[in-house]
């Protein structure tokens, strides 16, 4: 059994299922209760679980910081940060406490918190509403980072994240929230954290893309004169390095696509891992098609900033023609 849903619906259905499964799960954040979340990801949940859904004050550090205490008390906090650009107001809690509670307590306390936040640009939002900070979270030991691109993966990864004993930053591509519909398996559906999806198989070039960029990469692959193998890692931490390396060993070429800035972005990390383990298989340098090293622009220029199928296609062609 499966059903056609968009990502918002998949997230909402998963939250409902996990709230029903486990009484310890607590969903809270700004406007998640009566209003159902600004993207409606928590719509209706407060009626079904009146004592498990909380509207909080506008205070990101508090939303994440109290989660450390809730977790120590034995609950499973699933807070929503309204936009990931505002998670920076809680980043000290994430970096100094959420990610380290297990290490610091020598494994006797843990922080199974799943911090959900819409991420990425493309919805003509205000400043700070379009950030894609997965590399920053990846640079924070003790955190896992999920970044789904399809409704089915949103369900499978969110289920895995909430059940995971470690903290997960769960980034939801705002641009795809309602733009893609897809089959979502009914009932139990878990996508293990750290398992990439080989979206398309091909022999000429490996393209790695996640979140909203997966769809752009797919569009680029459709119009290029090369047999593309498209990999969606689905989680940034743990990263399924083996899936990427296996593919690169087959194709000899790789293009990594992300909308975050280029410098110290995940594409640099993936390139380094390929250099470490598969350098001799490469027929061309690894191409990076990314955002630029400028603040994410206001919406008149956001289309120009984000990688689009044309730029990705050019990246693929550079790799092919090297």
């Amino acid at each position: 059994m499966s059903d056609q849903r968009n990502i918002v619906e998949a997230v909402r259905g998963t939250l409902r299922a996990e709230l029903a499964r486990d009484d310890d799960v607590i969903v809270y954040g700004q406007d998640v209760g009566r209003n159902g979340g600004v993207f409606r990801a928590t719509e209706g949940l407060i009626d079904e679980f009146p004592n498990r859904i909380y509207d909080t004050p506008v205070a990101e550090a508090a939303i994440v910081g109290t989660g450390v205490g809730l977790a120590a008390h034995g609950l499973t906090p699933v807070p929503e940060i309204q936009f990931s650009g505002f998670a920076h107001q809680a980043f000290h809690q994430i970096q100094q406490h959420v990610s380290r509670l297990r290490s610091r307590s020598r494994g006797t306390l843990n922080c199974p918190m799943t911090i959900r936040a819409p991420a990425g640009g493309g919805i003509r939002a205000l400043e700070h509403h379009s950030e894609s900070f997965e590399a920053g979270y990846a640079h924070t030991p003790g955190l896992k980072v999920a970044y789904p691109s399809t409704p089915a993966d949103a369900k499978g990864l969110l289920t895995a994240s909430i059940r995971d004993p470690d903290p997960v930053v769960f980034l939801e591509p705002t641009r795809l929230y309602r733009a893609v519909r897809g089959e979502v398996p009914e009932g139990e559906h878990v996508v293990p954290l750290g398992e990439a999806n080989v979206v398309e198989t091909g022999d000429d070039v490996t393209v790695v893309a996640w979140g909203a960029m997966r769809r752009e990469a797919q569009r680029a692959a459709d119009g290029v004169d090369a047999d593309v193998e498209l990999i969606d890692p689905r989680t940034i931490v743990p990263l399924d390095t083996d899936a990427i390396l296996d593919s690169v060993r087959k194709t000899g070429r790789c293009v990594v696509v992300h909308e975050a800035p280029k410098t110290a972005g995940m594409a640099a990390e993936i390139t380094a891992r390929i250099n470490d383990e598969a350098l001799m298989y490469l027929e061309a340098p690894v191409e990076r098609v990314t955002g630029y090293d400028v603040p994410f622009p206001l919406y008149a220029r956001e289309e120009a900033y984000m990688p689009d199928p044309e730029r990705i296609r050019a990246g693929i062609e550079r790799a092919m023609d090297y």
Binding site: A62, T66, S105, K144, P238
Partner: protein, 355 residues
């Protein structure tokens, strides 16, 4: 349309035991002779622990520490007021509170020796590891107290922070969120007059730190933090109130008699006259005067406590030294996540090959 008073507030100041050791019977907590003696013993033990720890640091046996010398009354009284199920959320100067809570002294030394083992929380014990980032732990206390409200527990949470931490945004967010969610939290500010070198007067223009509770709509009260009995009473009452979903900010006025940390030199920013003035208000001396007057302590009892404390500390130091020899650096990989990922397992192997 007259201009009217929109809100008014007052902050109580409580002192049960004055600087000469005289007590106000109406403000004394209801404690047995054994409990009174325990408070004294815990204060003496904490003082000696920190004195010995500073000496160990000077000899290079342990790393940087933040001694609580001068603050024993507030810490011992607050920790003693906790019941077993209550959570204690310390910052980084809570040696006296940890020891009173029953944490083994060798664990504090291990932490100071740079071993994570010292921050391990024994299974089922409700004491959080130390939080070094100033003020950040106030939110963990708020979260614990919120969790206790959600699950309908009779327990409360007590979080320690300082006058400097009260300037951090997290502290206000913690008071505010605790108020909104009826958290079972007592926020205990040890106003020890200095945030490293910056005096309380340069920390805030507010007359009291307790009144910072007012903006969050929760109660604030000030107590003489060098008065162990007054602090015990105020914190006990605050905990009872918190158990009913009414969080409280308690500001305990005290003085850090030693340095901020062993890396600090207070002579740069404090006068010997000021330090001498506070030496006269020492919390242990004051309490000892009272207990001797009440017939709870005499020379023999004090000597017995001193010997007992020294013996226990000696054993703890020896145990800490033995533990230090067992450090396996590779274990740093083992608690980052519940399970070692292949990526991290590779790094662990590379580490063991020293690559």
């Amino acid at each position: 349309m007259p201009r009217e008073r929109a809100a008014e507030f007052t902050i109580d100041h409580v002192q049960a035991l004055d600087e000469a050791g005289n007590a106000d019977p109406d403000l004394l907590p209801d404690l047995s002779t054994a409990e009174l003696r325990d408070l004294y013993r815990n204060m003496r033990r904490a003082r000696r622990f920190d004195e010995r720890a500073v000496a160990l640091q000077r000899r290079g046996e342990i790393g940087t520490i933040a001694p609580a010398i001068g603050q024993e009354a507030v810490q011992v009284a607050s920790a003693a007021a906790l019941s077993e199920g209550d959570w204690m959320v310390p910052s980084f100067r809570e040696s006296a509170a940890y020891l009173t809570r029953g944490v083994d002294p060798h664990l504090l030394l291990w932490y100071a020796m740079g071993m994570e083992e010292g921050a391990a929380v024994p299974e089922g014990e409700h004491t959080m590891p130390p939080s070094i980032a100033v003020g950040s732990q106030t939110l963990h206390g708020a979260g614990l107290g919120w969790g206790q409200a959600i699950t309908g527990d009779d327990d409360a949470s007590l979080v320690f922070f300082g006058d400097g931490a009260s300037s951090e945004g997290d502290a206000y967010e913690a008071f505010n969120v605790a108020g909104v969610f009826d958290a079972h939290t007592v926020f205990l500010c040890q106003n020890n007059r200095y945030a490293i070198s910056v005096p309380r007067e340069r920390q805030t223009r507010a007359e009291t730190i307790a009144q910072k509770a007012v903006a969050a709509g929760i109660d604030g009260v000030q107590v003489d933090g060098n008065d162990v009995l007054g602090t015990y009473k105020v914190v006990s009452e605050a905990l009872e109130q918190a158990r009913q979903g009414e969080p409280v900010v308690v500001e305990a006025l005290t003085y850090r008699r030693s340095m901020h940390t062993t890396a600090d030199d207070p002579s740069v920013y404090r006068t010997p006259e000021e330090e001498a003035e506070w030496a006269k208000r020492d919390p242990i001396d004051r309490y000892e005067d009272y207990l001797r007057e009440e017939g709870v302590l005499d020379d023999d009892a004090v000597a017995e406590i001193e010997d007992d404390v020294e013996e226990e500390l000696e054993a703890a130091i020896e145990r800490a030294r033995e533990g230090e020899r067992d450090v396996d650096p590779a274990e740093m990989f083992d608690h980052a996540f519940a399970e070692l990922s292949p990526w991290l397992a590779d790094q662990r192997e590379a580490f063991e090959r020293h690559e």
